[in-house]
């Protein structure tokens, strides 16, 4: 956390309510209207630079909303060394915007000097647990704070995997001290694509580690007689994912929840309406707990 004495923006944790991903198409409207969403999230890499209208817009938005920085480019699980210059830019963005949460993915992304700019899956093996945990520790040591690690959507499973995805993530939490960003849409996508047991995933993930939830839409592709879901963040959250989210919240209690919508971005009000839907579920969980 930044030094309170030198903080530029309002501090405090992200509330256990719904937020939205801030996209450039909405940045001016959001500051002008200030819709009733509890917090914002942005992709860290979009704010790596020295200036420009997008950076200025986020600074204006940050004056009114708590923020989460969500990285997509570190490729934490890559066997190739971490890009330390990239990591230094993450740190600079943290210092500039004072986010309450910082997250990345349980993935790899670069090899042989080439970056694929995608979230590529890791095998769920002891070797990968050890490797990813060491990388997360390296990042946390450099940043001087805990990061959250997000579960992925996958389009295949490795024959080498010897652990379940939830045991893999649980082991990384235990060995690195990271938190979890639980993407409920990704769990559902993997249940269709890989036959993952979504209910067991939600039941077995270490609840105390989950500090944020993502909800998003996906695209359904028919391949022969099978469905293959593509995690494109380009539509509303589907009914099955809302149901799974409710069950997750029942187990985890209220957790800050983000509506992610990155492609075919709709009007700001559509995102706000989705966020209010999540807020209704979070409120029910609070009432149950009271």
């Amino acid at each position: 956390m930044g030094d309170v004495g030198t903080a530029r923006f309002p501090g405090g944790p992200i509330p256990a309510r719904a937020g939205i991903g801030l996209r450039s198409a909405h940045q001016d409207e959001l500051v002008k209207r200030r819709p009733a969403v509890a917090w914002l999230e942005v992709h860290t890499e979009n704010y790596f630079h020295d200036g420009g209208p997008h950076l200025a817009a986020l600074e204006r938005a940050r004056e009114h909303y708590p923020l989460s920085l969500h990285g997509v480019g570190l490729g934490l699980g890559s066997v190739a060394p971490l890009d330390l210059a990239h990591l230094a830019r993450v740190k600079r963005a943290i210092e500039r915007f004072e986010p309450a949460l910082v997250s990345e993915h349980a993935c790899w992304g670069h090899a042989g000097g080439e970056h694929f700019n995608d979230l590529l899956p890791l095998p769920y093996t002891e070797e990968a647990v050890e490797h990813l945990s060491a990388r997360v520790r390296q990042v946390q040591d450099f940043l001087g704070r805990q990061v959250l690690v997000e579960n992925l959507s996958s389009y295949f499973a490795y024959t080498a995997s010897s652990l379940t995805e939830w045991d893999f993530l649980g082991a990384v939490v235990e060995r690195s001290g990271c938190g979890l960003l639980l993407d409920v849409n990704n769990i559902y996508v993997n249940s269709i694509n890989l036959g993952l047991d979504a209910e067991r995933f939600v039941a077995c993930i270490p609840a105390e580690a989950v500090q944020e939830i993502h909800l998003a839409g996906h695209r359904r592709n028919r391949v022969g007689t099978r469905d293959l879901l593509i995690d494109d963040h380009g539509s509303a959250v589907c009914a099955e994912v809302w149901d799974l989210y409710e069950r997750a919240i029942t187990r985890l209690g209220p957790v800050p929840t983000l509506i992610e919508w990155d492609t075919d971005v709709p009007a700001l009000d559509v995102l706000v309406t989705e966020a209010h839907k999540a807020d209704t579920i979070l409120e029910s969980a609070r009432e149950l707990a009271a």
Binding site: H49, G51, P53, A56, H86
Partner: protein, 277 residues
Amino acid sequence: MNSPPEAASLSELQGRFASALREAGPQSEVAIRQLADCIVDDGLAPARRLQVYRNNARAMFAGALERTYPVLRRQVGEQQFAALAQSYRAEHPSRSGDLHWVGEHFASWLAPQAAADGRAWLAELARLEWACEEAMVAARLPPLAPAELARVAPETLGEVGLVLQPCVRTVSSPFPVWSAWRAGQVDGAGESADLALDAQHVVVTCCDTGLVLHSLPEQQFLFVAALAGGATLGSAVDSTALDLEALPGLLAWIFGEGLVTALRVPDDDNSLAGYVE
């Protein structure tokens, strides 16, 4: 008794995966087959599943290039741009987890083939769009008031340099790139670039509301470019043979646009220490 095949290590898996994402043509089949051996086959072919990642890698790269070169894309059309993106990626794959840098070498890569096709102006347009991309993410500092220049003793004025905004870029082209850029804006759809026009010289900058492009007469452009390169006012005038009568108006424009952030004064002049870069 045969022992089961040893599972690939994390390093081997990522190496095979990288090859399967990278390779094109006949080599891709070998790379895909090698990774497919490591993927669970549950009735949906591993190669088909892997294709999602191959498509993603191509789309992420092309999408980043499109965001940097929207005008060029409109000029050449979606199909040709996609083909250009694929060929460019084969020679200049992404070297960063930050997609901003993907298009860094695109203009110089495009230049020889655009010239061979008799469309050299396309690479010049790309050069201008990369300058725009750089300007869009560079800092814009508080501008210096022109009154500060008036404080400089007239006899030392020629030794003073103007420190321009970090977001200033200069692009001089034998082609009318500024006109082509304007014609290619979303609100300029339908206009075509008039290539019969003369060379154009563009100063690119960025403010809170977005990009600002100025097409300047050649001498005035060269003067601004010389200042951006660190020249003093005196050497900038000398090297560009700028008409001295045009100097006050040009300086008023430079300051009026907020392009100056500080004065660079000779080391032995302490009177303007507060403004020394």
